[in-house]
Each structure stands twice: as C-alpha cells, then as structure tokens.
Symmetry: C2
Subunit: 673 residues, 2 copies
C-alpha cells in the first residue's frame, strides 16, 4: 500500500527523487541541499480527507490519492561559475519532474551544515586570518574554535554575494576534553568567507570596550583571554561536581500507553487523531488534527523565528539568525535520547536527511511522543456531602529539539483531554557572548563571567495555524471586554462590562491587547453551538510579548516584518508556509512573508484562512543564564470555545492513582510530621 499523503518520503522515495534530478542534469555537478515531501495540493487533500473520514469499511482512499511529490533543492555547479540554485518538484511514482525553478540571484538558498565546514577550512587556509590570530597570546593549552554563523542581513548597498561569518573562541584543551566550554573565551575577531570562492575575504575586528568607550573601543590586548574564567557544564569538568541528593522520579505506564501510532504517521489518543510529519525546515508538523472525527486544524507548524542582537557596534547588527529559514529547524534537530529528553514510555519518530550527494539516510529519533500528567484537570467538591470528584489533566506531547550553534530550542505540541492544543517553546543552551575588557560593563548586554559580555537580544517566534474548524470555511473574530458606561437604564450599579466583537474581514496584522482581554476566536460561521447559539470555534489569547525593537527601516526590522504584529490573518494560498518568506538567508527585506500576504487584502470571512501567532522574548541576559541557561518557557493555548456541547474532559475517570504513596511509606529518608 502506498504511504499516506502526509507521511514523509521514505529513503527509497527520496533516492528516486535524487536519481530523477541527476538524470535531468546529466552534464552538471549537482550539489544537493534538501529533498523532502512536497505536501499535496490542499484542494486535492480536502477531497482525499473527506473521502478517508467518511469511507465505508472496505472502501479504499487509494484512488483519491494525490501524486506523491518530492521537493528537491540543489545547486548546479559549473566551472568558475557562481553555482546556480534550483528547485524541482519530482513525482516519485511517475519519476517525472512536475516543476522546475532556477532561483534568481536576489535570493540565497538556505545554508547547509557542510557550508559551515567550508568556513572552518577557509580560516585554516587564510594567511590573513592566521596572521591576525597571532596578535593574540592564547593561554597554554588553548586552541582556536570557529563557530560558523549565517552572515545575517547583507548591509544596504553591499555587493550581493554569499557569505559566512565565524565567531571565534578559544578552548581549554588541557583536560583533553573536547566538550570544555569554549564560549567562556571569546576572541574579538570575525572572519568572513565568500562562499563562492571558499576564501576568507575579510576579518572584522570587534570592539571590546564598555560604557563610554563608544562604538569602536577596542583593546585588543594580546592577553585578551586572561581575565576570562572557566565555565564548564559537562559533568566531568564541573567544579564541585554534580549534586548527589536528587533522587530519581520514575514515570511508568504498566498497562501501556493510551495512544497508538499506526500507518507510520497516524496518532490516535483520547478521541484525538492527527498525522505527524517532519521536514528539514519546520521540523515536526501536525496535520489533519481532529477530535472525535471533527476537524479542528488542517496543518499546525512552527514557521519561523528571528533572533536579532542589539549591540550597536558593527558588525553585531548582522547577528540576526532566522533559524527556520536560514538553516532549517529540521536539519538541526537533535537525535533524542530515552530517559533524558523525555521521561516515561516514549515513541520516537525518525526522519530522512540527505547529504550533498543527495544520498538519503535515516535521521533517527528526531521527534518524541509521550503522555504526561499535568496536574488537576478539573475538580469539584460538594461541600454538603463532602464528595470530591477530581480528575487529572492528561497531555499528549509531540516534541522536537534543535541546536543552533550555542542555543537550543525545545518545541512541543501538546494536546490535552480538555480539547486544548498548546504550543510550547523552551529556549535553553548557551547565550551568545563577546569579549569585554576587564572590569567594564556595557549598555549592550550583561557581564555574566570574567571578560564575557552576553549581548541583549530578542527571540521572535512565528507559529502557523491552518485551521479547519468543522470544515475549511472559517472566520476570525476578536472579542474584548470593556467597562460599560454607568447608566440608569442599562448599568445602574456600574458592575456591567460589555463584550465587543470585531470580525476580521480582510487579511491583516493585529496585536495583543491584554488590557482589554482581547481574545481571538477562529469560528465556523456556518455551524452553531446548540446551547449558546454561538458559532463553534477555538480561541486563543496571543501572548502580549514585546515586538521587534530594532528601528523601523533598519536591516533587522526590514528582514523580519512578520515581527510587527502578534497575529496575522491571511487567506490560504498554496505554498505560503513561511512567516518571513521562503528565502531569509542574507535577506535585506522580508519578501513573500506575512507582511506581503496581507497586502492582498483578501476577504477572509467564511474562507479558507491561515492564522499566524507571533510571540517572543526580549532577552537581556542575567548571570544565571550562564554557562547554560535554564529553560525560558512560552506557551500559546488554543482552547475550544463553544465547539463542544460540554467540557470534553467531563468523562475522564476520577480513578485514584494506586501508585501514589505517603512519604513515610516510601522510604526511610523522609521524615514524618
């Protein structure tokens, strides 16, 4: 049987796509970047899903299957020519190319990890860089480490070539441990590589001054690392070792999990069903999310994030990663480990990844799936009788974790027994740091350790929700609660407040307004709740986090126009998946992102629409973020709002958990009161 249309390409399918591309460029060197599932056209999928969910036993949806397509991204390398970036759509069943685009030079393909290797090699080979390096006397036993980064926004007016930059550190290798934390020893130089020539074309020197030293204050003392301090996190190097008094918490499911996974990608759990896929850019994606067969979301994904740095000194304005568009969240996904990244009974999903030769291989354990308890779900005690009924909230978690050089992000989709869907992001890892002269402080960040300035920055995330509330024709409204005027006829005691509803008629960007309790509802205007008479819907309150701070018109702001609003509502258009546009690497302007989409001013009432949720963190580091920062947690909650006819968790059993014990029954170390 052929795979479900939302199931990712198998290794075999990926290889077919690769071979077709190679056969179509017989006289060229083809350097592959990505090969992954081109998701089916939505109109075809609507028909397929409609058939699949209403099919009688024995009826097969196979005949309705849309074509099985692979998106192939690759460079064509010619002698002495700048490589040409191509994108092809290959039908892996007919082995035909359905579409072919040569992407213009104004856009840069997302980076690949092997381009990072080129940078390290170019530094090795660069006489200029090696000479500059000699200006610094590294302490004995220290070795250079180059941390490749995307180049950031190409300065206005600069020549449009492909670049990479390297942040430089020194690593204490006296212990022989390659995981000694080199970020504690930043060097104030940034080599820049021309990606076409694979040569270092420039070495930027970084200011190391503090308050009052202006934009260019540089010490460049040859003993620049002498005031830096060791800051280890791997347990075997940790001064003082790890604590020994933390007793294990074990989570077990002796009767098995409440979820099941069938047909590779279909997850069913507590009346929910959905498909999981994974792609190099967005990581894990949920499709066709339903509750008791009722459609809620067609596609749910993390779409983009931007991390602009606020240090005013050049070239730090170019520290601005787009971690989905530049390098691909899926590419950077961790291979998860049982008992570390998730506790309990875990189901892992693998993905497929390709090398520059297009050869696919398994990318194991990139997504984990498990159930967890989230405290009291609902409770009521009848105080007359003393009868308490208490149920737990159970969650199903789809999680993936990415590492982007120093930082990590933990992304999770959580479905719960109350019909809610929560998007959770945890930011952890190591903050990005630069050298600062001994004894100085700075307006650009916080000194978190000797000589180490953790620069102020923001993380702005965009999630994409393609809703299908009981069907694809939906409307977005927002509701606010307002103090009503004190009025003898309508509000004689001054306690009344009114709920104001606003329909989003045309595509636009909107903001959170917690002072008015602004709540967005995605409704199906064609179906009403039998009790309330309101249209069925799901609601969310956008986290009212600070928006992008970079000045309007600046490189940082222009590249991330999606960060201008907390919520965007757009009409569904094929292939519009990315909040900051398809091509973010070295961009000077967001092109084809949500800011462009809303310019169409499409009608979005009773339409197939998309809702984008933008939220983030202004991260002015604290000393406690060093050397590895404790997770900062963000959540966006989507909750049913008159979608159901009662609390969907009302039938969750209030069974007593028999494994729970009193401290004095469990062990000898705890004390009795």
């Amino acid at each position: 049987m052929a795979p479900h249309p939302f199931t990712i390409l198998s290794i075999e399918e990926t290889r077919i796509a690769r071979d077709v591309v190679l056969s179509l460029h017989p006289d060229s060197v083809v350097d592959f970047r990505e090969i992954f599932l081109k998701e089916p056209n939505k109109e075809l999928m609507k028909q397929y899903l409609e058939f699949e969910h209403t099919a009688q036993p024995g009826q097969s949806a196979q005949s309705k299957r849309p074509p099985r397509l692979a998106k192939c991204q690759y460079d064509i390398i010619g002698a002495d020519k700048i490589p040409e970036y191509h994108e092809s759509i290959i039908d892996v069943e007919t082995r035909k190319r359905e579409k072919h685009e040569v992407i213009g030079k104004q856009f840069h393909a997302s980076l690949t990890l092997w381009e990072f290797d080129h940078l390290v090699k170019a530094c090795d080979e660069s006489e200029e860089f090696q000479n500059i390096l000699k200006e610094f006397k590294l302490p004995d036993g220290f070795e250079l480490v180059i941390e490749p980064w995307p180049y950031g926004g190409l300065d206005f007016g600069a020549e449009n070539r492909r670049y990479f930059q390297g942040l430089c550190f020194a690593q204490n290798m006296k212990s022989g441990n390659p995981d000694s934390n080199f970020y504690a020893y930043p060097l104030p130089i940034i080599p820049v590589m021309d990606a076409h020539t694979r040569k270092i074309c420039r070495v930027d020197r970084l200011a190391t001054g503090g308050k009052g030293d202006g934009l260019t204050g540089k010490t460049h003392s040859e003993r620049i690392l002498d005031h830096c301090e060791q800051a280890e996190y791997v347990p075997e190097l940790l001064s003082g070792g790890t604590r020994t008094d933390m007793k294990p918490i074990n989570i077990s499911q002796p009767e098995g999990t409440s979820f099941k996974v069938t047909d590779s990608s279909l997850v069913e759990w507590q009346k929910w069903s959905f498909r999981v896929s994974f792609n190099p850019r967005e990581g894990a994606v949920l499709h066709d999310v339903r509750y008791e067969g009722r459609s809620i979301i067609y596609r749910l994904s993390l779409s983009e994030m931007s991390v602009p740095y606020a240090d005013a000194r050049a070239p730090f304005h170019r520290k601005q990663a787009f971690d989905f568009g530049d390098g691909g969240a899926g590419n950077c996904a961790n291979n998860l480990t049982l008992g570390c990244d998730c506790l309990g009974v875990i189901k892992y999903f693998d993905a497929v990844i390709v090398g520059s030769d297009g050869e696919p291989k398994k990318h194991p354990n990139v997504v984990c799936l498990h159930e967890q308890d989230n405290g009291i779900g609902w409770k009521h005690t009848n105080w007359r009788t003393g009868r308490a009924v208490v149920t737990r909230q159970r969650e199903l978690v789809v999680q993936f974790i990415i590492t982007l050089a120093n930082y990590e992000y933990v992304f999770a989709y959580k479905l719960d027994t109350a019909g809610g869907i929560t998007l959770e992001v945890r930011a952890t890892g190591i903050v990005s740091v630069v050298n600062i002269d001994f004894g100085k402080t700075s307006d650009y960040g916080n000194v978190v350790s000797g000589g180490v300035l953790a620069q102020n920055h923001q993380h702005i995330f965009a999630a994409r929700v393609d809703p299908a509330i009981d069907g694809h024709n939906n409307t977005v409204i927002y509701e606010e609660s307002h103090t009503a005027p004190w009025d003898k006829e309508t509000n004689p005691n001054g306690n009344f407040y009114e709920i104001r509803k606003t329909v989003v008629n045309r595509s636009e960007g909107l903001d959170a307004a917690p002072q008015h309790n602004r709540t967005f509802k995605i409704i199906n205007p064609n179906k009403k709740n039998k009790h309330s008479g309101n249209p069925v819907g799901y609601k969310f309150q956008p986290p009212p986090t600070q928006k992008l701070l970079a000045s309007p018109g600046s490189l940082q702001a222009q590249r991330a126009l999606f960060a201008q609003h907390h919520v965007w509502v757009t009409k569904y258009e094929e292939d519009e998946l990315y909040a900051a546009g398809r091509y973010t690497l070295q961009s000077q302007l967001e092109v084809g992102g949500v800011h462009d989409m809303v310019k169409r001013k499409d009608e979005v009432t009773n339409e197939d629409l998309v809702v984008w949720s933008v939220f983030g963190l202004t991260h002015n580091p604290r000393v406690e973020d060093w050397p590895v920062m404790p997770s900062e947690i963000f959540q966006v909650h989507f909750k049913p709002s008159d979608f159901f006819e009662r609390n969907p968790a009302i039938d969750v059993p209030s069974t007593k958990n028999e494994a729970s014990v009193l401290t004095n029954e469990c062990c000898s170390t705890s004390q009795k009161l």
Copy 2:
C-alpha cells in the same frame, strides 16, 4: 522543646487560648470564629532568624524565641443585643491577654460556615420564602437546595446590618444521589437573611430575560425548570459513563524523596529551605525562604481575591466574593486525597480548626508537598562532538485547594532547581449560573446548557511577597526595553535598544507593560553580583491580565481598590497582610488595603518593603466550562536576576532516567512505526 515561632498552634495551644478567652468573659456567651497563630513581630523574628542561621552547634535559639501568641476572633452574645465582635491576642505560655479590641460596627467579621447553616434553617422557617417557592412547580422528584453566599457589598445608603443571601437551585433526587448536579436547575429567587435575627427579611426576585428584555424582564413561569437539562459530573450519574481507554501514569521515587521535613514545619530540598504554616484566612504560607542559607523571601502568601459578576440586573451587582477576607481560604481548604489531588510520593500537612465553642480539632491533609518533573531544565549539545548534556527541571510543590460553594481554586507554590519560585493558581469547579428563559441569549453571560446562563465575571487575585533579598533592606526597580533612536554616533544600524531603569522611590501602585518588556526587580542595593556588578535581586514580570472592569466609584470597584494596579510596593508595617484590608465582608469601600497603604507615600528604597502582585482572569464562560470547568492556569514567576554567580541548576546531574522505556518495550497495545 517549644515549637518554632512559625509553626502553627497545636491543638493544646489553641485550647489554652480558648480557655483564656472564656475566663476573661465569664458572664457572657462567647461564640468563637477563629483561633490561630498570631505570627511574631517581625523585628523580634529578624533577631531570632539571624541567631538561628548563624548559631554554632550546641547553641540554642530558644532564648531568643518571641512570645507564642494566639489570635482569637469571637462574638460576645448578649440577650437581645446585636453580638459584639472581639479580637484578642493571647500569650499561650503566660496565659495572658496581650491585646484586646472590640471591632466597631462599621466592620463585619469574616463569616463562619455555621452562619451558612443558619440561612438554610431560616429559609425552612420563613413563611414568605416558602410561599414564594410554591409559585414554582418543581419537576417530580426535585428538591430545593439553598447555596448560601456572602451578601456582597452593602448597597450605598442601605442600613448596616449583617446579611446572608441564598442562591436557590433544585436537585434531581430521583436517583437518590445527593451529588446530582443541582446547579443545572437554577431558581430565580434569592432569600436574604438578617444574621442577627436569623430570619429571612426579604426575598429578591431575579430577572430571567434575555437580550432586549431590559433589567427586570422576568418570566417566572411556574415551570421554570422545564427547559433545564441534566448536567452530571459524578461518574456514576454521567450519561455515557467515563472513558475506559486512559491508562494509568504512575510516578514513583524508589530511592525516596529528595526533600525532608523536620521540626514540624521545616522543609529542606535541593539547597532550598523554608517553613510552611497554615491559617484560616490565607491557607498555606511560606516563611523564611532561603537558598544555600541566603535569604530570599521572609513571607510569601496569597492575600486576597475578588470575584465580581458583571450582570447589570440587581441584585447581581452584589455577587462579589472576597474569598480570603469574607470566608477564609484556609477554612475552605479541602482535605486532600492521595492519588487524586497529587501523584507520586506525598507529604501532607494538617492544620487545626475550631468550632463555635472554640474547641480545636485537626483539619487533616490541608497541604500537600511533593516533587515533580517539569521537563527539560537546561540542555546543550556540542554539535562538533555530538555530546548532549540534558538535565531535567525539578520542582517542589506546596499545594492547597479550596472549595467556595460552586468554585474551586488550586493554589501552589513551586520552588525549582533553577532558583525560581512560581505562584500557580488553577481555577476550576462549577461556574455560577442563573436561570434564563427558553431560547434566549444574554449580554450578561453565555447560555451553557438549557435554561442556564453562566454570568460573565472576573477573578482578581493578590499575592503578597515580603522579600528579604540577602537581608531586609531592599529596593524595587523596574526595567523596560525601548527602541533607541537611529543615530550615527550611538545607533548607526538601528539595531540597538536601550534598557531604562526606574527606581520605585515611594510606595505606589504600578502596572504591567508587556509592550515595553517591563520587568520588576527586587534588589538588595547593598550587595553586588561579582560578575555583572549589578545589585543582587529577583525579578518578575507581572502577568498583564485585565484589571477590574466595574466602573470607578461603583460598589464593586470601591470594595476592591487593590485591583486597580498589577503591582503595589509598600513599606513593611506590622499586621498589613491583606490586600483588600482586614474586613471585606459587606464592605462598601476597601479600608486598610494596599490602596490605603500606598497613601502614606513611605520611602521604600533600601527599606523593609512588601511587593503585591495582582493578576486575574476575565471569565466570559464558554460551553466547555460546563458542568465543571477545565482548570484555567495562572502563574507568576520569580526568578533570580544576578542573585547567583551562575545558573544554580548547573550542577543538576544529567543522569539518564533508567525507568523510561520505548513504547514497543512496554506493552502490546502500542504499535511500532
């Protein structure tokens, strides 16, 4: 050995206090309301704690012990007189009265649960009420249920007597089950009892109309319950029963807990230490919270909450509970059950409660203490070596749950391995409802079931933080991040943003400002972080939830002036524990609350100060909140900010949890990919 000064009064101590009071009022009838620990004078406690934490082995802090005091609240009942409300402070060691106050008639003592019984009895005995009741034909097998409520704010100009009101419902007793959900059958009458005469003095008739019916639209059909629908939540009455496919999640600690409890009230866990107490008004309180012996918080408590309803129709403006001041959160605390309210290895704390005769008895299991896992604490992968170090975030949870008629609240203090303290509130239980005519909808709420209007309302909580950041002299500042002007000299690329700091010099009320990333820091200006040079501190971002919506000057607004701001900073004064003042029952104006405290305009820099955090929920009910609402969760996070010299969780071990398993290893029901 005498109890620690923060340990609650024992049954014996409580009885002594009772006996002393009785002996001082020999010729009167004494009706007790509460007897509980009067916490020691702070100046004395500072000295005691200083000695306790620096004492050499063998040295005893006993000689520094402040007096052991009981606060006794009681009515003196005279023949035909309105009872007189008294408060006495009794020294339970010397058996002497230290203070005696006769509270003036302008204030009402908090209610007791036995006053609710009086109301039910008065309704039984009231001819007027019984006659009105006969206007309604209850369905066969239905019985009246009266839900006593505080009277709410006394209308401006009304006679100042003590009243109680009863919300009326009918219960389907055909099943014989006394836990059948009577809230599904609301009756449109409210009997009002004069608490002094214990007689029904008035029966208010409620409007049952909908949109367009104005403030007084009443149907009062005798068959008013015919369009109501059964809405059960106890499992044995649930139509369709409970789901059967939810497999248990068991949490175990085979090596015991990581915490220990000694000396009745001292909790030590993962470098944290604190004392737990419990009182009738605030429930669980934390005292002397320290990390590695360094003081952080002197006292942490939930202080007040107000729940005003927005239905414009009289007498609903008087639906406004102050659940701490009116009835006492501690009095309404649930006796918690193992395996239901908390999972894992649990330690319970008991409290002591008195009857109207002052006789104390154990109030068992009112607080639970347990550890839990909260996902990934920090993680970093060195992508060069592939080495991942991942640690879990562990939390210690101090939880109590209260039932206030229809509603419940789950309050938790969570301490974590990253040095953070989280206050969590979950709102659950049954929304407050009134009858609405068949087929109508309303501007005052949402129809969640046939004939049942769930009225719009707010929940506004106030937490009280008495900080002691490395000592008692602290300062509050707030920091904001602002776009900086684009300027060739200081911000040539437009990416710089500036951090603006404001010192709170004098006591005042302040607001959240998420658009500026406004972050409050409680600092010790006398001690600097060795890396950053910043004063050591803890920070929090006030949740920017909507403030009170009732019109300024209205009864609801005047009674809850604390709800005018998200943050209040006041200078510490003895006995200022309650955000809305000591006496909230039937208040017309907040007296002695934070709004009055800030009027002193005390200097609060480098002072012993108190920070109040106000947050809440505008709750416009959805159908999914019926019949029991899924928990709505609120959290306030206090995090170290340059308090430590590195991430305090950096030494948490990254040990693999050996109990975690793959789905295909755990059971047969899950499917392999």
